[in-house]
């Protein structure tokens, strides 16, 4: 880990961000907008910042994205 990484990890994202609970609440909608090629950042403000600052939520976001990508024919 170099100094830049240390700084980024310690200080987290610059802007306002969602809480973990709000992130979980919005996660499904956010990921569907991402996969549909929409604009998730304006649809769910503060989500991208939280995913930058919270390693656990970021992992779960990545997993949901990958799961839906791997099973694109799965119904609603």
């Amino acid at each position: 880990m170099n100094n830049r990484d240390v700084t980024r990890r310690l200080l987290g994202p610059a802007g306002p961000e969602l809480t973990c609970d709000a992130c979980f609440e919005q996660l499904d909608r956010y990921v569907e907008i991402e996969l549909d090629g929409g604009d998730p950042h304006s649809a769910v403000p503060g989500m991208a910042a939280h995913l930058e600052g919270c390693p656990a939520c970021a992992e779960e976001h990545e997993s949901l994205l990958e799961l839906l990508r791997s099973a694109p024919t799965e119904g609603p």
Binding site: M1, N2, N3, R4, V6, T7, R9, L10, L11, G12, A14, E17, T19, C20, D21, F24, L27, D28, R29, V31, E32, G53, C54, P55, A56, E59, E60, S63, L64, E66, L67, L68, S70, A71, E74, G75, P76
Partner: protein
């Protein structure tokens, strides 16, 4: 009936055979998602861990969570996407906790001073060394012991927040709030000292 039209919420509260069938289908979906997650993170587990059991426990807990939250589903996403996230969360938390079982996590707020992570040595530029020193001092002087502990363990030591929450008898949400407050304090302090944090440079004194 196509999946597009399948009304999960009604079926899962219909009672009788219809509800049983829907619950079974839901459980299958959750189990698939839980297996997907456990497999993704398999390398963090040692060979003795029963990954099938872990997946099935996660799917079971996710089923209970989905049924308990069913009334909150607003149709903002497909029902399956909404349900999947519960299985992924349960599985991810279980894998993290299992992977860290038996590993020591220092709960000493001052353990960070022994970490050589804040590189101020000759390889670091003068600017960045100055920022590192300010960070170190900020952590020491501006944060409470609890904030220091959470910030350092989660961001520098890579302890998963769920694992730390378990050890401290807390929750992810509460610890993230602590982390967030600690970051705000540090940012404020560095800004007061004239650091332009997001470029990593210190501005000329105004």
């Amino acid at each position: 009936m196509s999946d597009q039209a399948f009304d999960w919420v009604s079926a899962l509260s219909a009672g009788g055979r219809e509800q049983d069938d829907a619950t079974r289908r839901l459980h299958e979906l959750l189990l698939r998602a839980a297996r997907f997650e456990v497999n993704r993170r398999r390398s963090s587990l040692d060979g003795s861990v029963d990954v099938d059991q872990l997946s099935s426990d996660a799917a079971h807990d996710a089923l209970l969570a989905v049924l308990a939250k069913l009334h909150t589903y607003r149709g903002d996403s497909r029902f399956t996407t909404w349900a999947y996230k519960f299985a992924l969360l349960e599985a991810a938390v279980k894998v993290r906790r299992r992977a860290w079982r038996g590993r020591e996590v220092s709960l000493d707020a001052d353990a960070w001073t022994r970490i050589p992570n804040l590189d101020t040595g000759p390889a670091a530029s003068a600017e960045s060394s100055e920022l590192m020193l300010a960070l170190r001092r900020g952590i020491q002087e501006a944060l409470t012991p609890h904030q220091r502990l959470v910030l350092v363990q989660v961001t520098l030591e890579g302890v998963p927040i769920d694992v730390l929450a378990e050890r401290l008898g807390s929750t992810r949400g509460a610890l993230y709030k602590t982390l967030h407050d600690a970051r705000r304090k540090l940012r404020l302090r560095l800004a007061e000292q004239g650091f332009d944090i997001d470029s990593g440079r210190k501005e000329a004194a105004a």
